[in-house]
């Protein structure tokens, strides 16, 4: 169990050494230190996880240091290891180690590599602190720590204004969620007198039915606490309303998107709900909210994903949508299924992102799928890896064999359990989830067809033009950080002889081995992770050892749903595939026609339901407007004018008057004396 100290603190050490050493140590050394640390962490994590799977491990807590002791509020630094943590440990360290390795190739031409690797390791440390937290405050530490790392990595190419804007947006939107989280912690402390997670979970059942005052109302204690905490989860996991930062976060380098914005950080919210599941189980309204938000996000993000052109944005919305599945699984009480989907999703989504990164790498940092096409032959390894990822996310499998790709096991289980739950909210979630599965299949295959099938459409891409004219991809400006002002010059470049062929004479290269090895390993995960671990996650209460709330009855119900429900996901998957095939292979004029026919709906989806515009109008512009008003009219125009400046003015005017009174004329002084005397006599007499 002591190895957990190494697992958690090695990445921190590597981040500090790499970050402070930076150029003094040199690229290779920093990369070796950080990547090496992560592989050690990963190697130490798997035995812990496998011990839990085998049933031979006991949960435990390793104390590290006292933190805060204030009156009866106290919390310490400690590392907790139980089944739930073990699952997260392998997910985080595995994906992180592979992403570190992948970045050797992907970031090869970046001038600022030590900083990048240090940030990645820092992120991993914060994420590990989050999942090993024994109290809510340490969880919050990790929560904010990953937020910081995410901010730094989204804004890694800090010369790009768009990257900076996205970084700030991610941090600030997350802080909105954190406000809920913080209030939730305060409330929990008021109710339970502690922030220790095991103690809270033990005391929670006795508190169901209790009431508490909140903002002047008497409300159900557990519901309000859980909803507040869930607001935190919504921020971190980009759920509807607080999701707007996630698509913009794609400004960061692609390995970052894979690690942080797909596999690990964004799943922290799901982890939190599962970690606190005994608490949520006492809060029916809160669980209803979780289910509803999850289902709504699931369908919302899927609709947006069908219309985007940027390959990374499609996958980002897909992530958002898959997180919705996890939340409504938790909302209906199937925490095991939620964690299972989190587990499988980490592999296939990281695979898809890294695959997309490989495509982007090959296409000279072009991310618009309209300029892709026919890449199947050019980058075959990437193609096969992404195909596996697509099969996994769309949930391809054969029911009667009980075998399929990772998503087949986890997503189907979620849909079944939502149906089995039998409540209105559960049924709503089932239908939303099923429809979203259709859309998932559609946008995933759309991505594949646009990228790998059809004819090359590379010639119109300014990135490709640039590459062709700058002598392929060996120049320094390969890096988007220094590329932003080059774009306009190449947009109207003279077409090359091969222009008609649509390739512009460009030859995509398959990525280097450091990128392909992680792809290969994740491909194995996308294929086998579901099938191998299905039993442990879904059906084995002993596996969880009480680290989540395990609802035996619900699982029995899940296995007893009608056959049609069990096949629903597979059926809609085929429909989605068929539509995508029709529209992007068979008759490529269909998408344009459909967009025109469904004009308003299409624009609504394409513009992401206008959330950004709405928030800009509701929050951002008013904030600046009020700021200016408070400053100019409040501070300068009112407080200063009537305060110090006013006082100064009064004194100045007063002294002018006083000066006039002292005019040196005896009769006027005598007059004042006389008046004073009269006044004094009047005062004394009456």
């Amino acid at each position: 169990m002591q190895s957990i100290l190494l697992i958690v603190f090695l990445p921190l050490l590597a981040a500090i050494v790499g970050g402070l050493g930076n150029r003094a140590l040199g690229n290779t050394l920093v990369k070796l230190i950080t990547t090496g640390a992560l592989f050690i962490s990963c190697a130490l994590s798997w035995p812990i996880f496998l011990a839990f799977v085998a049933g031979g491990a006991e949960p435990g807590v390793v104390p590290v240091l006292q933190w805060v002791q204030s009156g009866d509020l106290s919390f310490d630094w400690a590392l907790r290891v139980d089944t739930l943590t073990a699952v997260m440990l392998v997910v985080i360290t595995t994906v992180s180690a592979l992403v570190h390795l992948y970045s050797w190739g992907y970031m090869d031409e970046d001038p600022d590599q030590p900083r990048f690797f240090a940030y990645l390791s820092l992120f991993t440390f914060a994420m590990l602190m989050l999942v090993t937290a024994d109290n809510l405050v340490q969880m919050f530490f990790g929560w904010e720590g990953v937020g910081l790392a995410s901010y730094l990595l989204i804004g890694f190419w800090f010369k790009k204004p768009s990257a900076n804007a996205a970084a700030i947006k991610a941090f600030v939107v997350n802080r909105v969620g954190d406000l809920g989280f913080m209030l939730g912690i305060f409330g929990t402390f008021v109710v339970f007198g502690t922030t220790s997670i095991p103690e809270i979970l033990a005391a929670a059942p006795a508190m169901s039915g209790a009431t508490i005052g909140f903002l002047g109302y008497r409300v159900s204690t557990m519901d309000v606490l859980c909803i507040l905490l869930f607001i935190g989860a919504m921020g971190k996991s980009a759920q509807l309303g607080l999701h707007t930062w996630l698509p913009d976060a794609m400004e960061g380098p692609t390995p970052v998107s894979a690690l942080i914005h797909a596999a690990t950080m964004v799943t922290a919210g799901v982890f939190m709900v599962c970690r606190l599941s005994p608490m949520f189980e006492t809060a029916p309204v809160a669980l209803g909210v979780v289910t509803f938000i999850g289902a709504a996000t699931c369908i919302f993000a899927a609709t947006v994903g069908t219309t985007q052109w940027d390959i990374k944005r499609v996958i980002a919305y897909s992530t958002c949508s898959q997180l919705g599945y996890m939340f409504f699984a938790a909302g209906v009480g199937a925490y095991g299924a939620a964690m299972f989907h989190l587990f499988t999703h980490a592999f296939f989504k990281a695979l898809l992102f890294l695959g997309a990164g490989s495509v982007i790498h090959a296409m000279h940092h072009e991310q618009d799928m309209r300029y892709y096409g026919a890449l199947r032959k050019e980058i075959p390894f990437t193609f096969w890896a992404m195909l596996a990822g697509t099969l996994a996310i769309t949930g391809v499998g054969i029911y009667w064999l009980g075998a399929g790709f990772a998503g087949f096991h986890s997503k189907d289980a979620i849909l079944e359990v939502a149906f089995a739950r039998g409540t209105e909210m559960g049924t709503f979630a089932f239908w939303m989830g099923t429809f979203a599965a259709l859309l998932t299949s559609f946008y995933s295959w759309r991505l594949m067809f646009l990228t790998f099938w059809g004819k090359p459409r590379w010639a119109d891409s300014e990135h490709i033009q640039h590459a062709v004219h700058a002598g392929h991809d060996d120049s320094d400006d390969h890096n988007p950080a220094v590329q932003e002002d080059a774009g306009d010059d190449v947009r109207h470049a003279v077409p090359s002889p091969n222009y008609e062929a649509g390739t512009a004479g460009y030859h995509p290269h398959e990525s280097p081995l450091s990128m392909l090895v992680p792809l290969g390993l994740l491909t194995l995960g996308a294929i086998f992770a579901g099938w191998v671990f299905s039993h442990a996650f879904l059906d084995d209460a002993a596996f969880w050892q009480g680290s989540i709330f395990y609802n035996e009855a619900l699982i029995h119900e899940m296995h007893a749903v009608p056959l049609l429900v069990k096949l629903a996901a597979s059926i809609v998957m085929l429909i989605g595939l068929a539509i995508a095939w029709l529209a992007y292979i068979k008759d490529t004029s269909i998408p344009a026609k459909a967009a025109e026919q469904l004009g308003p709906v299409y624009r609504f989806f394409y513009n992401k339901w206008y959330f950004d515009e709405l928030y800009n109008f509701l929050f951002i512009r008013p904030a600046f407007w009020f700021g200016r008003q408070f400053w100019k009219i409040g501070d300068v125009g009112t407080i200063d004018r009537f305060g110090p400046d006013g006082a100064a003015w009064v004194v100045q005017r007063g002294s002018v008057l006083a000066k006039r009174a002292q005019n040196g004329l005896v009769y006027s002084y005598a007059l004042v004396m006389l008046l004073g005397l009269i006044a004094a006599i009047t005062w004394v007499l009456f």
């Binding site: 930076n22 006292q66 002791q69 204030s70 009156g71 630094w77 919050f140 530490f141 904010e144 720590g145 804004g155 800090f158 010369k159 204004p161 900076n164 941090f171 909105v176 406000l179 913080m182 209030l183 305060f186 402390f189 008021v190 109710v191 059942p205 006795a206 508190m207 169901s208 039915g209 209790a210 009431t211 508490i212 005052g213 903002l215 204690t221 005994p278 189980e281 006492t282 029916p284 209906v332 009480g333 739950r421 039998g422 409540t423 609802n551 009855a553 619900l554 029995h556 119900e557 904030a623 600046f624 700021g627 408070f630 400053w631 501070d635 407080i639 305060g643 110090p644 006082a647 100064a648």
Partner: protein, 519 residues
């Protein structure tokens, strides 16, 4: 302890300050640095010898002067921490002025050393009039520092500063005279246990409030702060933010709360109300500033609002949170002003738009600036978080509304600080002169490094700072207990229904469980 260490700590800078008046510039700098370092060493000795869990007042010294007026010094844990903050920041201030100040260096150093005398005195004073003298005299060196070595509009700023702070003090002095008359003593420890009649408390409280609210500063008497900061030289801003702003909070915790508990309870609504307005108002104003120092000054007002709210939460978390916030803010905003000073020294402008892309040519600087930015917005692991978290946890027990509004500060704070950071450190390099600036010098490393270490220490292991104050806060909490307000959250235990939400009784029991859960 017989050795008069507190008097010595007052004497060293006093003698050095007088000496500086007669020295040339290089010598004055050295003498000032040496004196502040000696005081820092004495401060460390003080901390080491402070007996946690021992007597409430330690290192006491007493000499009767006349009437009820005594020269009485002594510290408790709260005063100890604030003295540590002062002596810690002082050498850094001297270093920060090393090259920036070229005119009248001797006088400048003398003013700073006098400032140090008065600051230590104010925290160590055990006699109310002694306190008053130190408290008010602190105005004079600061007035001179702004008025003589300040920016272009320094005269206006220094007058504004003086007018504001003097206004409240007059009322406080009258209240003090009345109190001494009634209680027959000017000893602060005695007065802290003295029970004034509740009706009298109201007026006394308001008189003290007038002074402390300005010093804090609380909305709407905050407008002196941005001007004072903008015009003050870097080191002046550091001391202003680092220590002078703490006088208000110290006043509340030393006078208003223990001496007038009933009145304090009566005015919770006022303090909470002003704090809530301050957080929203000043944060939004900070968002639209073009001047770096002004932005940080406004953020100070927002942070101080957390302090006042925490103090008036009437519980241990609130009080300790407020104290840590004072220490943390002293370090962090001091460091932020130093960060501004570093680039001001190079480019001589505080205009945010003149910078940009500094992370390219000044990566070490960008790292420090980022660290302090994150500490300012309360990232866990830094001192800012411990402070905010405890203070707000305290406030939550009294008012959920106030907590909700005050906690929006973490969103707004992130917005204006990151927006500042983005415009200064990120983005393309816009100006050739900004792009040519050199990274931190050794002197600047020595200034920023120790503060960063202290911020991290306070964030990861705040016990070192909480432990000396624990007994004093507990004593204050006990004294306040009789007036403590009843919170609006008040949990009430109902009938438990275990695992009701997804309760299922075997097959097809789902509907029944759900309908039960819904009620």
């Amino acid at each position: 302890m017989d050795f008069p260490i507190l008097s010595l700590m007052l004497l060293v800078p006093l003698v050095a300050g007088i000496t500086c008046l007669f020295l040339d510039a290089p010598m004055a700098r050295l003498v000032a640095l040496a004196a502040t370092l000696i005081d820092l060493a004495l401060g460390v000795l003080l901390w080491i010898n402070y007996d946690i869990g021992g007597a409430q007042w330690q290192f006491t010294e007493r000499a009767e002067l006349f009437a009820v007026f005594d020269y009485a010094l002594g510290i408790d844990g709260i005063a100890l921490m604030l003295i540590m903050l002062s002596v810690f920041l002082m050498p850094i201030c001297i270093l920060a002025s090393w090259q920036g100040i070229t005119r009248r260096v001797g006088e400048y150093m003398a003013a700073f050393l006098l400032m140090e005398v008065l600051m230590i005195g104010v925290f160590a004073a055990q006699d109310m009039f002694l306190f008053y003298i130190f408290f008010e005299a602190g105005l004079i060196p600061m007035y001179l520092i702004i008025g003589v070595w300040g920016g272009d509009n320094r005269i206006y700023a220094s007058y504004k500063f003086f007018l504001y702070t003097l206004l409240g003090s007059v009322l406080m002095l009258i209240a003090m005279l009345w109190m001494v008359n009634v209680a027959g003593t000017s000893s602060i420890p005695v007065l802290m246990q003295y029970d004034f009649a509740p009706e009298a408390q109201t007026w006394l409280w308001l008189a003290f409030f007038a002074s402390f609210a300005v010093k804090m500063p609380m909305w709407p008497v905050h407008t002196w702060l941005p001007d004072a900061h903008v015009q003050a030289p870097t080191a002046g801003s550091v001391i202003l933010a680092g220590v002078l702003l703490k006088l208000g909070g110290y006043g509340f915790i030393r006078f208003s709360l223990p001496m007038f508990p009933e009145a304090s309870e009566q005015f919770i609504w006022l303090v909470f109300g002003l704090s809530m307005i301050a957080v929203i108002y000043t944060s939004l104003v900070a968002l639209v500033q073009h001047d770096m120092k002004k932005l940080i000054a406004y953020s100070s007002v927002a942070h101080m609002a957390i302090v006042t709210a925490g103090l008036f939460a009437f519980n241990v978390q609130g009080l300790e949170g407020a104290m840590i916030m004072m220490l943390s803010h002293g370090l962090v905003s001091g460091a932020l002003f130093l960060c501004v000073g570093v680039i001001y020294d190079r480019l001589h402008t505080r205009e945010i738009d003149r910078y940009g892309g500094l992370a390219i040519n000044m990566p070490r600087y960008a790292l420090f600036f980022l660290f302090f930015t994150m500490a300012s917005i309360g990232l866990p692991g830094t001192s800012g978080f411990v402070a905010e978290f405890l203070a707000l946890a305290g406030v939550y027990q009294v008012s959920t509304w106030a907590t909700l509004v005050l906690t929006t500060g973490i969103i707004l704070g992130a917005a204006y600080m990151l927006y500042l950071y983005r415009r200064v450190a990120f983005g393309p390099q816009k100006n050739a002169d900004a792009a040519a600036m050199s990274d931190l010098s050794l002197r600047e490393w020595v200034m920023l490094g120790p503060i960063a270490a202290a911020v991290l220490w306070m964030g990861v292991y705040p016990e070192s700072f909480l432990a000396p104050m624990r007994a004093d806060i507990a004593a204050l909490d006990a004294r306040l207990a009789r007036a403590a307000p009843e919170g609006d959250s008040r949990p009430q235990v109902g009938t438990p229904r275990a695992h009701e939400a997804n309760y299922m009784e075997g097959a097809h029991g789902a509907a029944a469980g759900a309908s039960e859960g819904a009620h």
